[in-house]
Symmetry: C2
Subunit: 240 residues, 2 copies
């Protein structure tokens, strides 16, 4: 029976796909992919490309980044209809997404529109924060420690509370919030416990072990993540 597959392709390096993701890319007939750069559409495509089968049909669809909710909704709705038709005609259809499909991915918008109509299988992927921790040899959590993953676009109150309360924080979607976030990191005395990595595992990866080194005029990549660890950061920094 034909299915729709949501495929997490990891943070950037094509070798960070799972065997299962590769197997699915090998068998699907059609791949839907967003064009928008900011959504990671073209990046996800370049990561998955080495694993495409020769007969794969790629359908590029435009998902507007506009803040007009109705416009976005209509767009996803129309792509979902196309997908449902394809699957009902017996085609295996895929959708690729950066990192993990269930962590801050627009994949969820399309998945929710399909789930009552056709069979949906989601394949997990390596998240950027998990790859950053491993590539920096930086432990995130041990024993009874909580781990909090926060987008820098969250309410400031939530960020303040988390910075004071938890020993390990993953701050995602840094981008234009860098100035505000660095101020808070300084305020809570965490600057020596923080590392920022942009474009993890991509050719353009940048690692900042000292956030003070970042010029406030510098444009921070859209794919930047800050790890803060009050317990283990020292060793990672020394080792780097």
């Amino acid at each position: 029976m034909a299915k729709f597959y949501g495929i997490g392709v990891g943070p950037g390096d094509s070798s960070l796909l799972t065997l299962k993701a590769v197997e699915v890319l090998n068998k699907i007939d059609i791949l839907y992919t967003p064009e928008a750069e900011k959504d990671g559409g073209s990046l996800a495509l370049s990561i998955a490309k080495p694993h495409f089968n020769e007969a794969l049909e790629i359908k590029y669809r435009h998902f507007p980044m506009s803040f007009n909710k109705a416009e976005k909704e209509a767009k996803w709705e129309s792509v979902a209809k196309e997908v449902i038709e394809d699957v009902k005609e017996g085609k295996d259809v895929g959708f690729i997404t950066l990192g993990d499909p269930m962590i801050y991915s627009t994949y969820v918008y399309i998945m929710e529109k399909l789930i009552s109509e056709i069979q949906v299988e989601t394949i997990p992927g390596i998240s950027s924060f998990s790859n950053i921790a491993s590539s920096q040899n930086l432990p995130l959590v041990m024993d009874t420690e909580p781990l909090i993953i926060l987008p820098c676009t969250a309410d400031e109150e939530i960020i303040d509370d988390a910075m004071q309360k938890y020993s390990c924080l993953v701050l995602m979607k840094v981008y234009k919030k860098f100035g505000m976030i660095r101020e808070k990191i300084e305020k809570y005395g965490l600057i020596d416990h923080a590392v920022l990595v942009s474009n993890s595992s991509q050719g353009t990866e940048k690692v900042y072990t000292d956030l003070r080194d970042i010029n406030s005029e510098e444009k921070i990549s859209y794919f930047s993540t800050i790890l803060i660890n009050k317990e283990y950061m020292h060793k990672a920094k020394v080792n780097h």
Copy 2:
């Protein structure tokens, strides 16, 4: 130059290894692995086994589960010494660990003893919570939502606070804490937003979409995780 590799093998299904993990398993000369069942030693071994090269030498070492810190420390120290010798003799050495190496893995104990002596490369893995979310088609977080990962062995105060404050919680290490955790889940009105999965992606996987169905006498597997999502759970439950 010879290296030490820490390899995340994911939650159970051998197809959830990354290509990179498989490549490393193919090239290492020696693999160190704990024997203890509870540490997931034998489970990690069975996951990785299909990807072993024929010449691979496996060194089983016993890591006592005792709460005697000095005894444990001495054991890890002696294994670390062996690893350093092997790598200095030009052997590529690996250590496999369930899920992701930087999230609640004893891998960190050995990594920290090696990092100043030899080259260490850590390969990320799919965490059980990420696989549970995908296999249940259950979104974890979107937009500005925080995600908190909590071991059920954390202070109860921290668990209470998180259950009230966040819309998405991952509760790990459920095991003997199940009774206490279910009480809290009921108390905060979250029982209809919770799902428990044991042994995710293993042959023995069990999914409980209603935590009320679990007999309090039932022995909960060591590898059990509860996902709570105040926003998206309904669809996942209906779809199951």
